[in-house]
Symmetry: C2
Subunit: 586 residues, 2 copies
């Protein structure tokens, strides 16, 4: 294992030139303009002071640039992870309190350590627990939950809760106290952002701008909203009129601090940190893979784990909160021509400069504008049509998706995702617990054996031939015992059972125990077990137990050999019985 395996930056860094720098610089400029409002907004969503979003957009980007393998992934605060942060911290501390801020840093540290450990121990496969329907249901439900949760900022009222049954009644009760000017700002921002998202670019093009320039300028829609809103608040003295604003934002770069290392709190936050890590990783990798494929590049899941782990550890040391690769931002970065993670470094510099120069201006930024930014961003995540597609494709997957969706909306983000994971594991067990086990017979005049229910084949009355179309392992070990018991109980004349293992890629310890139990039970009933067509690796593994010495039967190279040996009369049948098998079903 070479050092450079863990430092992809050594690879692209060696060949870095002025042309790449120019392209990365332009992409970074556009991403910075997009990231400023987003990072402020997602910090607010996470229940943190807005400046924490900027803090989380400097060092994490540098850390990812060192260790990450995607050329164009843009790391930073993202909506879903911010929601999960809020969901795990809100029950513990008042939002925005120093304890809350410290706990968010601790959460980022835990998440970073978990991701790094997963990278070192090559445990990235754990993310497979999150099946696509579960992730899809989770993202859609999170989007709805976030959007509903932000409505309070739009109306200038108070409401809180970790699910719709808590949020909606509070919101409805609070509506009579709606603050007019706030609502006006909110609705205007929402309308502008919604319009700018799709219509700004064509308009700019009609005004004579080139397509790339129009596209890049259109990305600045949110920052324009922010500038306009700040100007309006300052000129019309709206803060005095009761419009809630961001307030004093500390100027300058974040200090390097250790998060509070409270062990009890760490243990309490660990499950949430694991979920945040997995969800963040899954999202980030799928964005990274999509973008890498466009240029026939590759990303390495282990490097992604390490990159995201380093980013989160960096976030925890600089006043941030959990981060990951964001979808929209990465696409913008890629489309704007970013060539290497140096674009991320330039973006970090851009955010750092804003922290030093622009923070006094952010004082008058209305929270309603940030809420509008969040709502427009997350509603694009909501994809309820996919539920219908999944359900039509597979009832089991549809059920897992629906359970996750409803669980997140009605109970909460963590319970919802655990519900979905649990259900998909259950349904998976159910689906694989009853593999196809066919009684096979000999195709007359050939050495082939086929399912007796589908083909006109010859069965020996004393030799039962079974073909198992699946690896033998714990989800189906017990079923194998049951099926063999049933089949033998129904055939009193049977003296030999030959298990045809052509489809068996693995026999785990549970299945080995089951085979041993089957041998014992068959023996007391006067039947001997044999195996045929056992694959090489499976045979190697069986040799590591004493099964082959003790089971008393033989291992035949083929089912035909088995029958030739165990029922010699059958295989030498007269030619008149031969013929092409009639296929009952394809």
């Amino acid at each position: 294992m070479k050092w450079s395996h863990w430092l992809p930056c050594l690879d692209w860094g060696r060949r870095y030139d002025r042309s790449s720098a120019a392209q990365d610089g332009l992409a970074a400029l556009i991403v910075t303009l997009m990231l400023i409002p987003q990072s402020l907004a997602y910090a607010m969503l996470a229940g943190l002071p807005p400046v924490a979003g900027l803090y989380a957009s400097i060092l994490p980007l540098l850390a990812y640039a060192l260790f990450g393998s995607s050329r164009t992934l843009a790391v930073g605060p993202v909506a879903v992870v911010s929601l999960m942060t809020a969901a795990s911290l809100a029950p513990l501390f008042p939002a925005g309190s120093p304890e809350y801020v410290g706990a968010a840093m601790l959460l980022a540290l835990l998440s970073g350590v978990l991701l790094t450990a997963m990278a070192m121990l090559r445990l990235g496969f754990i993310a497979n627990f999150l099946s696509h329907p579960v992730v899809s249901g989770f993202i859609s439900a999170s989007g709805i939950l976030i959007a509903v949760g932000q409505l309070k900022h739009l109306f200038g009222v108070s409401a809180s809760g970790e699910n719709l049954p808590q949020l909606l009644p509070q919101l409805i009760q609070a509506l009579p106290g709606t603050h007019g000017p706030t609502l006006l700002i909110g609705v205007f921002s929402l309308a502008w952002l919604w319009w700018a998202r799709t219509r700004l670019k064509p308009l700019l093009q009609r005004l004579g701008l080139s397509a790339p320039l129009a596209s890049n300028l259109a990305k600045a829609g949110p920052i324009m909203a922010i500038i306009a809103a700040i100007a309006a608040v300052a000129l019309l003295q709206l803060e005095q009129a009761g419009v809630r604003v961001v307030g004093v934002v500390p100027q300058g770069l974040p200090g390097l601090t250790l998060p509070t290392l409270d062990l009890d709190l760490a243990v309490q936050l660990l499950p949430a940190a694991l979920l945040i890590s997995l969800v963040g990783f899954v999202e980030s990798v799928s964005v990274g893979q999509t973008l890498a494929a466009k240029r026939r590049q590759r990303i390495q899941p282990d490097n992604e784990l390490l990159g995201l782990g380093a980013a989160n550890i960096a976030a925890s040391f600089s006043g941030g909160f959990p981060v990951t690769g964001g979808f929209a931002r990465s696409v913008v970065n890629h489309d704007a021509g970013a060539q290497t993670p140096m674009a991320g470094v330039f973006t970090a510099v851009g955010i750092a400069l804003s922290l030093v120069l622009l923070t006094p201006l952010l004082h008058d930024l209305p929270q309603a504008v940030l809420a509008a930014t969040i709502i427009v961003a997350v509603l694009s995540l909501v994809d309820l049509k996919s539920l219908r597609h999944t359900w039509r494709y597979s009832r089991q997957d549809g059920a897992a998706q629906l359970a996750t969706l409803l669980g997140v909306l009605l109970i909460g983000v963590e319970t919802g995702i655990l519900l979905g994971v649990g259900l998909s594991l259950l349904l998976f067990l159910w689906r694989t617990s009853r593999p196809h086990i066919a009684v096979v017979g000999q195709v007359p005049g050939s050495e082939h054996f086929r399912n007796v229910e589908r083909f006109a084949v010859i069965e020996s009355p004393s030799v039962l031939s079974l073909r198992v179309d699946e690896s033998l392992y714990f989800p189906n070990a017990r079923y194998l015992e049951e099926r063999v018991g049933e089949l033998v109980a129904a055939r009193p004349r049977v003296r030999h059972l030959v298990l045809m293992c052509s489809g068996v890629n693995l026999i785990d310890a549970s299945a080995l125990d089951s085979l041993q139990a089957i041998v014992e039970r068959l023996r007391t009933a006067g039947v001997q077990l044999h195996l045929s067509e056992v694959k090489g690796p499976v045979m190697d593994q069986l040799r590591r137990s004493d099964f082959l010495q003790t089971f008393g039967g033989q291992v035949f190279i083929s089912q035909f050999e088995a029958l030739k040996h165990l029922a010699p009369a059958l295989s030498s049948q007269p030619l008149s019985m031969q013929g092409k098998p009639h296929e009952k079903r394809s």
Copy 2:
């Protein structure tokens, strides 16, 4: 679905005759003699008054006889389930208190309802979560934990704890306070029971008794120990000397009572009830299957769930605690010639008679004798050799078994089993998350395609042929994306990718999403995906999505057809290149 499906007793009841009754009666007598000391002892193990064990050995046996499908399973209190009962209740209430007794009844009710629900909803496959190595590690560790926990009764001291790190120090500290007479009784009982278990039968045979009679008499070893101990305590006035005895046992049958329906407590006990149900079911079914196979009978897992569910509900209404089918007792019942569950009914009558007639005699029974009974019974469950076998056979299964074993011993029964289940799921995911995906090429002059790394085959530079030897589903969906990305990135000249699906039995929604993502990514890289040799059921399912319309490629009947169409030059190669493929490895 016929009524009789759920009432197997209708089946055997119709043909019940005097000869069966005689055989069942004899078996019941022997089982009753074995069950009296065991039920008292296991109630003590569960932290309940000993009489609760007798209560749990009447109605549950009748309920199982109605609904169970095993002819010879002997239901009642068993060691492992009693330990789990104690482990789940001890943190909540003082052992033996009325609240504790009520909670034990509630636990039995919950377990019964869960088992019944699993029967009705056909959810028995959930027991597959408990792989054999996990169950084996759990049983061995429970045996050790139970034996160590009973030592206090042998020494006449106090010690408690739910794992070895809690138990051992207390026990060692308490040893100086050992009560001499108690230890004497305990050691004598232990020695007698240990000797009687293997040596009594041969001795009785040498004394001229017939083998069956000697065998049956030998089963009465524990009851002889009890009688002798009661006599010794009464004659030598050992209770006054400080030997702890069972004390006043209420005479007569248990009243039918409802367990306290405390909803909060029920929610708290639910996870424990689920584990108890699953462990009890797994144990019971494996005993039942073994015994049924000996006579070429069958058991139905659904009926077993219902039978055990009914038994536990009956236990909860009659002052009992969770029960299941016991291994040793069922084997004795079977070997003694029991023909039908009527033997269980007779056993219940025997226990009821003892409750009416014998309870005054039980007052002087020393707890040390019951502890000795438990120790001898559970040490036969401990099988540490199996750990070595499992480890040698498969590192993954061995790790799961070891984790369960250590988890139970060092942390506790529930945590231990959850650790084992979690680890076996993790290792399973790990094992299946990287299926065998081979690049295949055409065997010269044939229509066959084989792994390019094992055979001398011809590859097309523009068409990449991949064979996936596994169903495509969520544990490996992401890996498929990665592998395809890697392989295509390494072959810049490739324009078509044909996925050969001969080994694919299922494509779930996660894999469908992955395929769609692969199509998108390949498209941006100028490569088109195609499928070949898709099985009928998989094709049917794909038709329920719009994948086949949108993916832009073709579905070929065979890999050869695909190549013929996509790279016509290759398949019409000159004959000189043909030949039998050299097999590099079998």
